[in-house]
């Protein structure tokens, strides 16, 4: 029997990485919030690799943190190995990646949720989203409890009509042995939401006691640990190792001989899988001449022997899995604890969302995470915090938080989704950001703390220390730009030691820093000056000055494009009516309904000529809106 179970401002459906951020943001911004999960033991679960960060993804985590999100803090408390990737490739692509103790991570996040004021957590499957007159009203659980809510955030991940596929076996199921959400898809469809079917997969988990690590290459963590959160102080702890091994000809032979039993090649899977995350059978088929593929063995936590086998995701039958895993050096006697599987699920076509992540046809209904066609915990969390913030902005009738492509990877992520859509699970990569030199992981706080503070997610204390940091950086940069270092034997001695040309006349410290061989600390040494900056302040000074020319260039370009971004397109415009635009472009524009000329220009199939016609039309529209 149906009954009214509660009145809320915001209801969040799903307590994965997106849901947790959304619920915390809404509650912290003062809204009465409820978070639903099919199983409360699976809050913030990592059903695939037990790690957070990586290229592009590490950037996202730092941005979430700068906005006042939780992911960075939780992983800082629970990681068991930390590495900065790409350190030889330049500051813009430095990427932080940490192995998580999966269970600790979940427990830490769950406790954070539990201790949050304004937030209720509830185990229930949501079967219906209720809407009336184009506005969302609330949600209903599988046992008929009605929760009224002024805003709803859907963060259902891969649960919607989830189907697990292992070889020729398939059954209805969610990730990691959990139940799927069978009913919500129908409710979404009845609200006029177009669904797509995506697929992803995960490798087996094995018992570490059955692995011979002596046959593998050890991959330890970094000596110097850089935390994810700008609020976490210096970190020191013992770290666990990952292990590298390789497939071989024998592995490939077994895969090839059993390809006919693969559901992917047998046509059983209809969903679209990600190109960047291929199954091992995919790799063997598509890169047939490659003699070996990498396999990483990653610990799932400190209190378990279970390990994750990165690189060996597969949907081949279990018996084939066992055979092929055992061909790999170090895994000859391996025992599989959890079988690898592929999962198919419903997600929505993100083109139906506005840049605020609100569904365009129903006010107050927001979507975030894998349900929007993305992949990855970090991508999910990034959308989660934005959807959470915007659900509150909606209720309080304030301006939505929309981040620009030159402001944040989060901006790139959401703009890509709502403008270009996606035909495979979308993963963040640094190359998706055209202003990559501006969107570094080291300056995420400088880019976004202000916004987090305005939203009410950054404490006054944190904000004050952020302002102090900013000031210290600015002062030091200006000092280096205005200080001339005169030549001396001592100075030239240091320059020679660093393998760079000696100076004969005075030179500005800022110019000296532009030499690849010279670090900020070298400058201080030459000046015989004591360092008064923190490590991250010194890092800012160094990067901002060293790469100044390149950074300024991108800033200039971003400014040019901003003019197009600022050209708003009225909501009542009828794109079908603009005759000069090609038919294809007209249809695409009508579908995406871009908010600005900038957004319109990024829609695939809309040519520069179409954009110039659109701009002329807008001019005329302005003069006579009829």
């Amino acid at each position: 029997m149906e009954y009214i179970a509660g009145e809320y401002d915001v209801a969040v459906i799903g307590a994965g990485h997106a849901g947790c951020e959304a619920a915390l943001a809404a509650a912290r911004m003062g809204c009465k919030t409820i978070l639903f999960s099919i199983n409360l033991d699976s809050v913030a679960n990592m059903p695939c690799n037990p790690s957070v960060g990586g290229t592009g993804k590490g950037h996202l985590v730092r941005e979430i943190d700068a906005l006042g999100g939780e992911m960075g803090k939780v992983i800082d408390k629970t990681f068991i190995q930390s590495r900065m990737l790409n350190t030889g490739k330049g500051p813009a692509v430095f990427s932080l990646r940490a192995q998580a103790d999966r269970r600790s991570y979940q427990a830490e996040m769950k406790r954070t949720l539990e201790q949050q004021d304004n937030l209720d957590i509830k185990q229930a499957e949501i079967t219906d989203i209720l809407a009336e007159n184009g506005r969302v009203k609330g949600v209903k659980t599988h046992i008929g409890a009605l929760y009224n809510a002024r805003a709803v955030v859907v963060t259902t991940g891969t649960y919607l009509r989830g189907r697990i596929i292992i070889g020729d076996v398939s059954y209805e199921g969610g990730p990691d042995g959990l139940f799927p959400a069978q009913h919500l898809s129908d409710s979404l469809k009845s609200l006029g939401i177009e669904l797509m079917r995506f697929k992803t997969g995960t490798p087996a988990r094995i018992n570490g006691r059955t692995v011979d690590f002596s046959r593998m290459e050890e991959q330890p963590g970094d000596d110097m640990i850089v935390p994810f959160s700008f609020e976490t102080g210096e970190l020191k702890k013992a770290q666990a190792s990952c292990w590298l091994t390789y497939t071989n000809e024998e592995t490939h032979r077994i895969i090839r001989e059993n390809l006919h039993r693969s559901p992917l090649y047998g046509g059983m899977i209809e969903g679209i899988g990600p190109r960047y995350c291929p199954s091992i059978e995919d790799k063997v088929v598509r890169f047939a001449d490659k003699e070996r593929h990498q396999v990483f063995i990653e610990p799932m936590g400190l209190n378990t022997e279970e390990m994750y086998v990165q690189g060996m995701s597969t949907s081949l039958p279990e018996d084939v899995q066992i055979k092929m895993y055992r061909t790999i050096p170090g895994l000859e006697n391996v025992k599989i604890m959890r079988t690898a599987y592929a999962i198919e699920y419903d997600c929505i076509n993100p083109l139906q969302l506005a840049p605020s992540l609100e569904f365009k046809s129903i006010s107050g209904l927001f979507f975030a995470g894998q349900v929007n066609g993305t992949s990855g915990y970090e991508e999910a969390a990034a959308q989660g915090i934005v959807a959470g913030i915007n659900s509150v902005q909606y209720i309080k009738e304030r301006e939505y938080l929309v981040l620009g492509r030159a402001e944040a990877y989060i901006g790139v992520l959401i703009d890509d989704l709502v403008t270009k859509g996606t035909n495979e699970p979308y993963r963040m990569m640094t190359s998706r950001a055209e202003y990559r030199l501006l969107l570094r992981q080291d300056n995420a706080d400088l880019r976004l703390t202000e916004k987090g503070y305005k939203a009410g997610l950054i404490s006054p204390d944190r904000y004050q220390s952020f302002l102090a940091k900013k000031k210290n950086i600015e002062h030091e940069i200006s000092r280096l730009e205005n200080t001339v270092l005169p030549p001396s034997d001592r100075v030239n001695g240091i320059l020679q030691r660093e393998g760079t040309a000696i100076i004969k006349t005075g030179i500005k410290l800022a110019d000296l820093l532009k030499r690849p061989e010279i670090r900020y600390r070298t400058l201080l040494e030459m000046e015989a000056r004591e360092n008064v900056l923190t490590r991250s302040e010194a890092e800012q000074v160094e990067i901002q000055l060293k790469y100044e020319g390149y950074i300024k260039k991108q800033q200039h370009q971003a400014l040019q494009v901003l003019k197009l971004e600022n050209r708003r397109i009225p909501e009542n415009i009828d794109f079908e009516d603009i005759r000069g635009i090609s038919l294809e472009a007209r249809q695409k524009l009508a579908r995406v309904r871009p908010a600005s000329v900038g957004q319109a220009s990024r829609i695939s199939g809309v040519s520069p000529a179409d954009i110039s016609v659109l701009m002329v039309y807008l001019e005329q529209f302005k003069k006579s809106p009829n």
């Binding site: 290229t55 490739k89 813009a92 190359s431 990559r436 690849p516 040019q560 110039s612």
Partner: protein, 460 residues
């Protein structure tokens, strides 16, 4: 607003064999129907595209026959503007053409702005930006060779070439990016040498294209040749002989040509703009002095100087003064009046102009002129230009963008050599690729749009 019906006389002004009035837009068939009386009546709705009808243009009010014409019909969307187009082919002559255009306007068409047909073709998505520019150049082109270059550009040869270069850069970027975004995997790191090689290729091609701007400009604008010499040596006769037209006034009185007279001639398919200057002579005459100043200015401006000497007279002081002006310039020494007795000491001339070509002619008898033409061709059109295969740039916007791309590519080379990390390198290559994309309109920047708007006078 755009889709009203426009009309224009689309043949060049002046007396021609035939003239064309072109009408484009939704009402273009209807407009013509009201003033055209075909010999064999037909239903306009059934007329197939690209058909020609014979009949007369008649003033619908006075019933007066204006001209005997052929009307061609082109149905959208497969027309130049992607709109319905009609063309009235009539007997040339300004009065007839104007009369017909007036009638067309009375029936509801509007007189097109310059370039408006092309603007519509562009706005309706038929041409990309570089193609639209090429059409405008084709309309303004002066010679056959130039028209062919325009045609190449129109068919996207330049776009194709630029696209190829851009792809090369995009490949470099992709190579670098793969390593950046998938650092854990054993992707072979692309070496700086390999990137460097491809950047060099690209840079060289961009430089090559830029070099063609000189020849491109010659093809498009022609070269400027100044004919100089003291009075009465036959400068104007030479010009006339070359142009085979009576334009300059030729007299026996020294100093008659006081202004600069221009004439276009075509040598080897290239437009040559010949400036006939006032005779250079020390003078107290004020008017003639102005002429001489202009001559000096013309020498400055010219790509080539034809120094004319009178073969029937000895070298005078005045000649020597002129020698000084010409000596450091690209010049051909022309000894005229070879039909008369030679009194000029050619050996001495050769001493002064050791490096320069000396050609004897008779302007009056039109002998030796072909030698001048051949020499001009040798000097400016190094290789016989194969216009059919050649991609040259003639457009200033393209030149500017290519120069900027060249700078960006040099920046890339610098980045490679400086040992800066690959994220900077990738960013530098992206800048260069985006720059090239501006030619084909592949990058939308405010500047590109601004250029479009100013060139096509839209969005007022």
């Amino acid at each position: 607003m755009f889709y009203d019906t426009i009309a224009a006389i689309s043949t060049p002004p002046g007396q021609g064999g035939i003239g064309i009035v072109r009408i484009s837009g939704r009402e273009s068939f209807e407009v013509v129907r009201k003033i055209f009386k075909p010999v064999k009546p037909y239903n306009i709705d059934e007329v197939k595209t690209q058909t020609l009808k014979y009949g007369h243009i008649i003033n619908p009010v006075s019933k007066e026959i204006i001209d005997e014409v052929l009307v061609s019909y082109f149905r959208e969307p497969y027309t130049y503007t992607r709109e319905n187009i009609t063309e009235i082919n009539c007997h040339g002559g300004a009065l007839v053409l104007k009369g017909i255009l007036e009638l067309v306007v009375q029936q509801g068409a509007r007189i097109a702005e310059p370039g408006e047909f092309t603007k519509r073709a562009f706005l309706n998505g038929r041409l990309d930006l570089s193609q639209a520019e090429a059409v405008i150049e084709m309309i303004n082109s002066k010679t056959n060779a130039e028209r062919k270059v325009s045609l190449n550009q129109l068919e996207g040869k330049l776009s194709e070439k630029i696209g190829g270069l851009r792809n090369l850069l995009v490949e470099c970027i992709a190579d670098i990016e793969a390593g950046i975004d998938f650092p854990e995997y054993d992707i072979e790191e692309v070496s700086r040498e390999k990137i460097s090689e491809r950047i060099d290729t690209c840079l060289n091609q961009v430089k090559g294209l830029l070099k063609t701007f000189f020849e491109g400009r010659i093809i498009k604008e022609g070269i400027t040749v100044a004919i100089v010499g003291k009075p009465n040596v036959g400068k104007s006769s030479l010009l006339n002989a070359l142009a085979q037209k009576e334009k300059a006034i030729i007299t026996e009185v020294p100093g008659t040509t006081r202004d600069i007279i221009e004439e276009y001639i075509v040598i080897g398919g290239v437009a040559v703009r010949v400036l006939d200057t006032a005779g250079l002579r020390q003078t107290e005459d004020r008017i003639e002095k102005i002429g001489i100043d202009r001559t000096k200015a013309a020498i400055e401006r010219a790509d080539l100087i034809l120094l004319v000497l009178d073969g029937s007279e000895e070298i005078e002081e005045e000649d020597r003064e002129i020698f000084k002006l010409v000596k450091e310039r690209k010049a051909i020494v022309v000894i005229n009046k070879s039909d008369l007795d030679i009194r000029l000491d050619i050996g001495k001339v050769r001493e002064v102009f050791a490096e320069k070509e000396i050609i004897e002619i008779s302007a009056r008898e039109e002998t030796g002129l072909d030698k001048i033409e051949r020499k001009i061709k040798d000097m400016f059109i190094k290789n016989e230009l194969e216009y059919d295969n050649l991609t040259v740039i003639t457009n200033v916007r393209h030149k500017r963008i290519l120069e900027e791309a060249e700078e960006e590519l040099e920046e890339v080379v610098k980045t490679i050599n400086s040992g800066l990390p690959v994220d900077m390198l990738s960013s530098a290559i992206t800048q260069a690729a985006d720059k090239l994309g501006e030619i084909t309109g592949e990058t939308v920047g405010e500047e590109v749009l601004h250029t479009i708007f100013s060139k096509f006078c839209i969005g007022k």
